[in-house]
Subunit: 414 residues, 2 copies
C-alpha cells in the first residue's frame, strides 16, 4: 500500500501536464474514459458485486446497499456523465478581468487550474467517476479517497480511467485512488500541505466536520442543508402548498430538501390543515410546535428537531408571528445552504433575500433548485455551504483559481 | 479582559447591521472615522509614545521601532487612507452573474459581505485603521488582533474608530480589538468556528504558518514572497538591468521584492558584470553559484539562500542553462507570489506565463507591480499567495462572497 503522501505527490507530479493539456486533449480523454467504462463494465460490476456482498454480510441498510450497487444502467450513466462534460465550456484560460494601467502595463486575470484536487466521500461509486471527470475538464489532477465499502468498485473504476488517460497521452497519476480507507488516511490527506490545493469532503455531517476541523490544506465545506420554507402572510397559498410538498418530498434524501416549514400566524389556519393533508399524502410525518400540533396534527417537536437534517420524509413545522421571527429562526437553525420564502409581498421578499445568510435564497420557488445541473453549470462536485472561494453549486469554474499575467516593455516602479 | 470568543461574538452580532448599511452610510462613517483620527491625533500619539518607549527599552531594532512609530504625518496618512476608500466602488450588491432558467426562474449571483473578518498582524498600527476601513467598506465587521508592541496605539485608534461608528449610526462592535496579545489568543481566534468567516494573517512567515496550520476557520494566506527575476537569453539587457535593480532595491522590505536573479548562460557574461555594478551601487550584497561568483563577484550561496526571503538588500544569483532550468528552479523554490521574465522572445514569454505557478507573472516588468494600489484596486488588505478564494492583491471585492437569489412564480422541481 502506497502512503497517502506518496499518492498525493504522484498527483502533484502529474498536475502540470493536466494543466497544460488543451481542451481538445482533455475532451478526447473524457471520451476515452467513457468508452473504457463501457468496455470494462463487466469487470466493474464484478468488483462491485464483491463490495455489495460484503456490505450485505455486514448488515448494511438496504438504502446504503442500494447507493453502493452498480448495474449496467448505472455504469452507462457514469459514462454518459463523462460525455456530458465534453460539451461544457473549459474554464481554463478564460480572462476574468483585464485592464491597462496608466504606465502601459497590460494586466489580465486568467483562470488557471487549482492543481491537485482531493475528495473524501462516502458510498456511491459514481462520485469516483464524476470527480475524476470534473477535475480533468478543469485541468486538475485528483486524489480520491472513497469509503472502504466501495473499495473494490473504486479500484476497478480508477484502473479503467487511468488506462484511458495514458491511452490519451495524459499521465495516469492525473487520477489516483487512496487505497487506505482508515480514518488516519483522511487525517493525512488533510495534512498534505503543498501537495493538495483543495480538499472537498462530501458525505455526512460527521465526515465534513472531521475534515474541516482537522485539515491544514484549503477545504471547501459542502452539503449539510437544514433548509427552511417560510410561508409569509402574503403568500399565494396554492403556490405555498406546491412548493412545500416539492421541497420536502420530491427527493427527501438530498441536501437541498426542506427540513422545516415556518408559517406566518395570519395564514396558519388557512394553510396548515391543507398542506398537512398534501404532505401526509406524500408520506411525510410531521412534528411541530403547539400551534402546528393543533392545526396540522403534528406530533410534538423537540428542541433538537429544529436543528436536524432529517434527509427523510419528516418535516418540522412552526408557526411564527411575523417575518422577524422567521428570520430569527433561520439565523439560529439554518446551515447557510438554501432558504425559501413564499410571498406576494415585494417588501417581504426583498427583505428575506437581503437578510437571510445562505448560499441560495428562493423567492416563490422550491429549495430543490439549488443544484449545478438546474443552474445550467452542468455537473457539480458539491454544494458549498461556506463563504470562501465558492458558495452554492460548484461547477467547473469553482475548481479553478486565477493568475495575473502582466505584460510590459521594461516598466519599473517609481 | 474580554475573552476572544466574546469579542468575536460581539463582532458577529454587529455584522448584520454593517452588511445592511448602504454605501452612503458606510462612506459617511469612513469620513467620520478619518475626522476622528485627526481630532484625536494627540491621544493616539501619546499612546503610541508609550509603545515606542517600551519597544526601545526592550532593545527592539531601529527598523522595528520605526515601523511602530506614529507621527502627525502618519496619523494624517491613516485618515487619508480612510477617505480614499470613500471613492472606491462598493462591491456589495454587484451582480456577478445573472440568467433566466428554462423554467422561468430568474437567478442572480449577488456579491454580499463575508460577515466577520479577522486579522492577525504585527507591528505597524496603520494596519489597524486600514483593515477596519476595508472591512467596513466591504460590509464586514472586523476583529483585530495586533501585536503586543502596538497595544496602546491600537487601543487608542480603535476607541476613536468605534466612537465614530456610533456617531454614524453603526454599531461600535463593527470594529473590535482583541486585548489579549498572547499566542493563545491567536489560537482561540483560529478556533472561533461559526463566529469568524475569514481570518487573514499578515506578518512574518512564522506567524502565517502558525495561523494556517492551527486554524479551523477559513484562512487566506498572505505575503511570503520568494520572488525571482529570470533574464532570458533573448532579454533586452538594458531593460533587464533596470527591472532587476528595481525589483530588488526599490523597496527591499516588501513581499513583492525580488530575492533571486536567474540568468540564462548565453547572456551571463554580457549581463552579470554590468548588473552587479548597478546592484552594488544600490547597496545590494550578492551571493551566487559558481558562475555568478565568477561573473558578478558574488559570495558563495548556500542551499538555504535559494529559499530565503531576505527582505533586505541582498540577492541570490544563479546562472541557468535554459528556460527549463529556470522554470524548474522557480517551481522548487518559489512561494507562488510573483515571478518575472525578461525576454523579447514571444514563445519564451508565453511558456513562462503559462507554466509558472504564481499569483502574478510579470513579462518585462518589475515584480514590484503586484500590488492592489498599482493594479487600481485602491487599498489592499494583503497579497494572497494561496489559490482558494483570492489570489494576488486582495481589495474590497476579495472581502466579499456571493449569494444566489432565485425568483420565481411558484416553480417546483419535476
Amino acid at each position: 500500500m502506497t502512503s497517502v503522501l506518496e499518492v498525493c505527490a504522484a498527483a502533484k507530479a502529474a498536475a502540470p501536464a493536466v494543466a497544460r493539456a488543451t481542451t481538445g486533449q482533455k475532451d478526447a480523454a473524457l471520451a476515452a474514459m467513457a468508452a473504457a467504462l463501457e468496455a470494462g463494465a463487466d469487470g466493474v460490476l464484478a468488483a462491485n458485486a464483491r463490495d455489495v456482498e460484503a456490505a450485505r454480510a455486514d448488515g448494511t441498510t438496504a438504502a446504503m446497499v442500494d447507493r453502493l450497487t452498480l448495474t449496467p444502467a448505472r455504469v452507462a450513466a457514469m459514462a454518459g456523465a463523462l460525455r456530458e462534460l465534453v460539451a461544457l465550456t473549459d474554464p481554463v484560460g478564460q480572462v476574468v478581468r483585464g485592464f491597462r494601467l496608466p504606465n502601459g502595463l497590460d494586466v489580465r486575470q486568467v483562470r488557471v487550474p487549482l492543481g491537485v484536487l482531493a475528495m473524501v466521500y462516502e458510498g456511491r461509486p459514481n462520485v469516483t467517476v464524476d470527480a475524476a471527470g470534473l477535475a480533468l475538464k478543469s485541468g486538475n489532477a485528483c486524489v480520491l479517497r472513497g469509503s472502504s465499502s466501495a473499495l473494490h468498485s473504486n479500484r476497478a473504476l480508477t484502473a479503467l480511467l487511468r488506462d484511458a488517460l495514458v491511452a490519451s497521452g495524459l499521465p495516469a497519476d492525473a487520477v489516483v485512488l487512496i487505497d487506505d480507507t482508515s480514518r488516519q488516511s483522511v487525517k493525512e490527506l488533510g495534512r498534505a500541505r503543498g501537495l493538495v490545493d483543495l480538499l472537498i469532503p462530501r458525505g455526512g455531517a460527521g465526515l465534513i466536520q472531521a475534515v474541516v476541523t482537522d485539515s491544514q490544506v484549503p477545504v471547501v465545506e459542502t452539503g449539510v442543508g437544514n433548509c427552511h420554507v417560510y410561508v409569509d402572510r402574503a403568500a399565494d397559498l396554492g403556490r405555498a402548498r406546491a412548493i412545500t410538498v416539492n421541497a420536502k418530498a420530491q427527493r427527501p434524501s438530498v441536501c437541498n430538501a426542506a427540513e422545516t416549514l415556518l408559517v406566518h400566524a395570519a395564514v396558519a389556519e388557512a394553510f396548515l390543515p391543507a398542506v398537512a393533508g398534501d404532505l401526509r399524502d406524500a408520506g411525510v410525518a410531521l412534528v411541530g410546535d403547539d400551534r402546528a400540533q393543533r392545526l396540522a396534527g403534528a406530533e410534538p417537536a423537540t428542541d433538537e428537531d429544529w436543528d436536524t437534517e432529517y434527509l427523510d420524509l419528516r418535516l418540522a413545522v412552526r408557526v411564527v408571528d411575523d417575518l422577524d421571527e422567521a428570520l430569527d429562526h433561520i439565523a439560529r437553525h439554518g446551515t447557510l445552504h438554501t432558504e425559501a420564502i413564499v410571498t406576494e409581498d415585494r417588501a417581504a421578499a426583498r427583505r428575506f433575500a437581503a437578510e437571510v445568510d445562505a448560499a441560495a435564497v428562493m423567492v416563490n420557488a422550491s429549495t430543490r433548485f439549488t443544484d449545478g445541473g438546474e443552474f445550467g453549470f452542468g455537473a457539480e462536485i458539491g454544494i458549498s455551504t461556506q463563504k470562501l472561494h465558492a458558495r452554492g453549486p460548484m461547477g467547473l469554474q469553482e475548481l479553478t483559481t486565477t493568475k495575473y499575467v502582466v505584460e510590459g516593455d521594461g516598466q519599473v516602479r517609481g
